[in-house]
């Protein structure tokens, strides 16, 4: 066997050795429970666990932290589907279609799809990590601001697909999202923008309170104002349509989309600083684009659950590539992981890669935790779906309190609570008067990435340090963007020609 496969096998044996296996199990279950609380993610749990693990064996530490990174994802999407509250920021993309499915009484199907996409997505990410570990060491340093810029543009282009119903309003919301993402320090000049002299806005608006407001609080206001008795409209569990297995089957029916989303997740995850939120949103946009006019994205299309969930879990494998190879954290979770590794005398880079079996302990733990959380999640679908038949009068105040908890737990600041409720009112008005919230959120997430990399690319170009047209990564992304924007155009043109032809035939008759 090759050295990589030998190390993978050795790592697997270490994971399943007694009592090592208990650590990923305990870590996954703890992460699942914690991630039910919005704003308290696996990262919070990792921070809490650091002091506990100082005297532990490095293998046990790797097992626990791998599980904490992987275990939180599924439950975060469960709250997104059931309550329109994202457990973590990347789960926000799952809400766009997951919650409408729950409202239509298909919560079980959405949860089943999410669990299967999560488990299989993480498997894809780990397999890619194993296969590409040697290759990525060469490729990752070749990606720079122009490629990140194109990735942001690719994500922003998704807006063109999700706003088909009202292009004008969608573009306004996207513009507003971009403007709000510019709040705080300018990335190039460090000049303050749109802060109105307040200290709070200098770092820009944080995404968690904004997500909680735009979706959770706004949805509660709508739920209370509408007079609906429950989220799904059903009052008994047996009145809900759709089961978890139907959701699992949807992943296999849309296997091409699953593979594309997982590939996006792994690639974006491998780029330091982008993280799961960008991965989930770019994958959602790609799914909406590729579905074309047949898609019902934003109205409860199961592909809108599949794509972000697969990407979000596949990104974990990708994010370990720069973490393990170069010691560059791709996210808050991997940054904490690096800190813990350093505390235990494990330095990333060549030394960790030369001891590959230790790296594989972490990789297998991550893989195992994703599967455990998905299996536990699948087996508790019925129990979780009960939330959608709880009376509004009892559920609404609890969701509001969860939103307050999520916004406050984030940084223990009252201002975050007000931001969440302020955006809640804005989100309700958007919903009431037909302004698409999805366009606003996508632009808000990708705005700072777009601006920073645009400035960097322009500056590098001015200094003659880069030649855009000679960069294969940039050219590939330009080509992809061109194709993805051109395809819907061709389709719409063909449909328009067909309609004109039909009208002419009717006139002739």
């Amino acid at each position: 066997m090759s050295p990589v496969l030998d190390a993978a096998w050795e790592g697997l044996l270490l994971v399943f050795a007694w009592p090592n296996i208990l650590y990923p199990l305990a870590g996954t279950l703890a992460a699942m429970v914690f991630s039910l609380l919005p704003g308290v993610s696996g990262v919070t749990l990792m921070a809490l666990a650091i002091p506990l693990t100082l005297s532990w064996d490095p293998i046990q530490v790797l097992l626990l932290f791998g599980a904490l990174v992987g275990g939180a994802t599924f439950m975060g999407s469960a709250t997104a589907i059931l309550l329109n509250i994202p457990g973590t920021a990347p789960n926000a993309a799952t809400m766009f279609d997951g919650y409408p499915m729950a409202r239509a009484g298909h919560a079980g199907t959405a949860l089943g799809c999410s669990a299967a996409a999560s488990a299989l997505g993480s498997t894809f990410g780990v397999l890619m990590l194993v296969a590409l570990l040697p290759l990525m060491a060469v490729l990752v340093p070749l990606l720079g601001p122009p490629e990140y810029l194109m990735l942001a543009v690719w994500g922003l282009a998704a807006i063109a697909t999700v706003i088909r119903a009202s292009v004008g309003k969608g573009l306004v919301m996207a513009g507003l999202g971009l403007l709000i993402s510019f709040i705080g320090f300018d990335p190039r000049t460090a000049e303050l923008r749109y802060t109105f002299g307040t200290l709070y806005l200098q770092d820009g608006l944080h995404l968690v309170p904004v997500f909680l407001g735009i979706f959770a609080v706004a949805e509660v206001i709508d739920l209370m104002a509408s007079g609906r008795t429950t989220i799904s409209g059903a009052t008994r569990l047996d009145q809900l349509a759709g089961d978890a297995l139907e959701g699992v089957r949807a992943v296999f029916r849309n296997f091409g989309l699953f593979l594309r989303s997982s590939l996006i997740g792994t690639t974006v995850g491998a780029i330091p600083g982008l993280g799961g939120t960008a991965a989930a949103f770019v994958a959602y946009g790609e799914a909406a684009r590729s579905a074309g006019p047949d898609g019902r994205f934003g109205e409860g299309d199961i592909r809108g659950v599949l794509a972000p969930e697969a990407a979000n879990d596949a990104k974990d494998g990708g994010s370990l590539i720069p973490t393990l190879l170069f010691g560059i954290p791709g996210s808050a979770g991997t940054a904490l992981l690096l800190g813990v590794l350093a505390l235990h005398g494990i330095s990333p880079g060549e030394r960790l890669v030369s001891n590959l079996s230790l790296a594989f302990v972490l990789i297998w733990s991550l893989f195992l935790s994703n599967w455990i959380s998905s299996i536990v999640g699948l087996s508790s679908v019925n129990m979780l779906s009960r939330i959608t038949v709880v009376r509004t009068s009892r559920l609404a105040p609890l969701i509001l309190i969860l939103s307050v908890t999520g916004a406050f737990a984030y940084r223990a600041r009252f201002a975050d609570v007000w931001v969440a409720f302020g955006f809640g009112l804005l989100g309700y008005a958007m919903k009431r008067y037909g302004w698409p919230r999805v366009a606003f959120i996508i632009a808000l997430v990708l705005g700072s990435m777009f601006e920073l990399n645009l400035h960097l690319t322009m500056r590098l170009q001015e200094l003659d340090r880069i030649q855009l047209w000679t960069r294969p990564g940039f050219m590939l992304l330009v080509l992809l963007l061109g194709v993805t924007l051109w395809m819907p155009g061709v389709r719409f043109a063909a449909e328009a020609r067909e309609m004109i032809g039909r009208a002419r035939r009717r006139v002739d008759r």
Partner: protein
Amino acid sequence: MRLSRSVLFTLCLLAVVLILAYLTLGLSPTSRLVPLLVVVPLIGLLLVELKRGVGGADAEEAGAVEAGVEETDTGGRSERGVLLWVLALPALVQTLGILAGPGLFLLLYSRLRSREPWVFALTVAALTTLGLWGLFGLLLETSGGVGIPLLQGR
């Protein structure tokens, strides 16, 4: 002429964008480059939407435009009453702190709005307060040591 709520909302958005445009003009040329690229077409788009709204196009779209969102039915409850209840929560949290605020809100909401029995209202409020104390008072406070203000507002 009586403006619809939808048009008023568009006017509010336009006012916000105009303020941001004014602030953008005060920035250095480098800092305002990308914001200007966004804000100028945004004003134009909002004016078009405003014209459509005044012309009655919004009435046809009426809330059903957003993908995935069915038309909002506000026939069930008074919207103003709902908004007051929703804003009462952050106000209570700000005044009484993260432990007492949500507990009191839940008690008042359960009794006054949902008309739940006292036993149910008190139990849910007490359990919620206990859960919040466990989260902020025990777990995050002791491990994070960030000095979370539990019992006082701002």
